[in-house]
């Protein structure tokens, strides 16, 4: 690495973009993480925007919210679909469980940023502590999602009556008791793709934790890896904020 005093003054006749310096003042690894996250943001945007396209191409439910029933004829009101909470069978608590999941993911983002702060101070013990909390938050979120998927797939006790008189329960890629089959397909694809990101994030967080415990970053002299994986983890949280709004609230 060049001496910072040298890199701030480029050679005469050369621009700051001609090489040898870092014009964006960020390390190569961090910069590439930012650009990867930008491309990942495009992928998630494409999924969510396609959801918006297909949803606006379907008829919306126009009746009173209290009288809402599941039907293949119109797009469901999301809060009527996601109203179950574990251990409270039969209780109607719209969006409460999803709200809890959102809170868990935001909290794990907070513990991650505290790990990054500890890394700046070379405080190995604090990094270990906050990384463990972050990993715990990620695993809790994934467990919640596993429960939600199970509930969505199995369905409600009443199921939904089709026009030909058959009763269907739950949802898969072909049938969907909650509304048009597209709704279930988007649920599986969007939350599944996000869940896979969380899963990869937990693995990366564990790797960082392992390297912290074994002293790799102390020997390296900096904890930048915590920062880079932290960027990824915050991005996963950010995507969930958008999924929460556009899939569950709107």
């Amino acid at each position: 690495m060049a001496n910072p005093a040298q890199v701030t003054v480029p050679a005469p006749g050369r621009s700051v973009w001609d090489g040898g310096v870092s014009p964006m003042n960020a390390s190569y690894g961090k910069l590439m993480m930012w650009f990867f996250l930008l491309s990942d943001a495009f992928t998630f945007s494409a999924l969510l925007i396609t959801y918006g396209l297909v949803r606006s191409a379907h008829p919306a439910y126009t009746g009173k919210v209290e009288d809402f029933v599941f039907s293949q004829q119109y797009w469901p009101i999301p809060e009527k679909v996601f109203d179950a909470v574990p251990f409270f069978h039969g209780l109607e608590a719209p969006l409460v469980f999803v709200g809890l999941m959102t809170f868990i993911l935001i909290m794990s983002s907070v513990t991650m940023v505290l790990a990054v702060e500890a890394g700046h101070r070379m405080d190995r013990k604090a990094v270990e502590k906050w990384m463990l909390w972050t990993i715990l938050g990620g695993i809790t979120f994934l467990s919640c999602q596993a429960w939600e998927w199970t509930h969505f797939i199995i369905g409600t006790e009443e199921g939904s009556l089709l026009q030909d008189g058959t009763r269907i329960f739950g949802a898969n890629l072909r049938i969907n008791q909650y509304g048009p089959p597209d709704f279930a397909a988007f649920f599986f694809f969007i939350t599944g793709f996000h869940g896979f990101h969380v899963f990869s994030g937990v693995l990366l967080n564990f790797l960082v934790y392992y390297n912290t415990v074994t002293g790799v970053y102390d020997r390296r002299g900096h904890y930048e890896m915590v920062e880079k994986v932290g960027l990824y983890w915050h991005f996963v949280d950010l995507v969930w904020v958008f999924v929460f709004t556009f899939f569950y609230l709107v």
Binding site: M24, N25, S56, A57, E117, G230, H234, F235, F242, T245
Partner: protein
């Protein structure tokens, strides 16, 4: 060999309490906005569809701003980096507008 290698004496700096306090404040704001989203979801009736949607979008942008700006530290990066990330997002906004408009047209054609 890793186990024979000496871990160098690392100088641990004391916690930056001002910075940590600020991070917790951001966490508090994120929690408050999420609670406000619930308040809107259950108190503004579904009849006011547009009002609901725009409040949700506004609050989501506020949350995203805090996460990207403070947690991901983008607010404090060099301006070139800041705009390199933000400007491409204009395409996403345009894509959203175009595709939702397209969806509404498909709906009308199917009627």
């Amino acid at each position: 060999m890793a186990h024979t290698e000496e871990i160098p004496q690392v100088k641990v700096l004391p916690p930056d309490t001002a910075k940590i306090k600020k991070l917790w404040r951001v966490a508090g704001i994120l929690a408050l906005v999420t609670i406000a989203e619930f308040a809107v979801a259950f108190n503004i009736p579904h009849e006011y569809k547009d009002l609901r949607i725009w409040t949700f979008i506004l609050m989501t942008i506020v949350k995203a701003g805090y996460i990207v700006g403070e947690f991901m530290h983008l607010r404090y990066e060099v301006k070139v980096l800041f705009w390199s990330i933000l400007i491409p997002m204009i395409f996403v906004v345009w894509m959203l507008v175009a595709f939702v408009y397209e969806g509404i047209s498909i709906f009308e054609v199917r009627q």
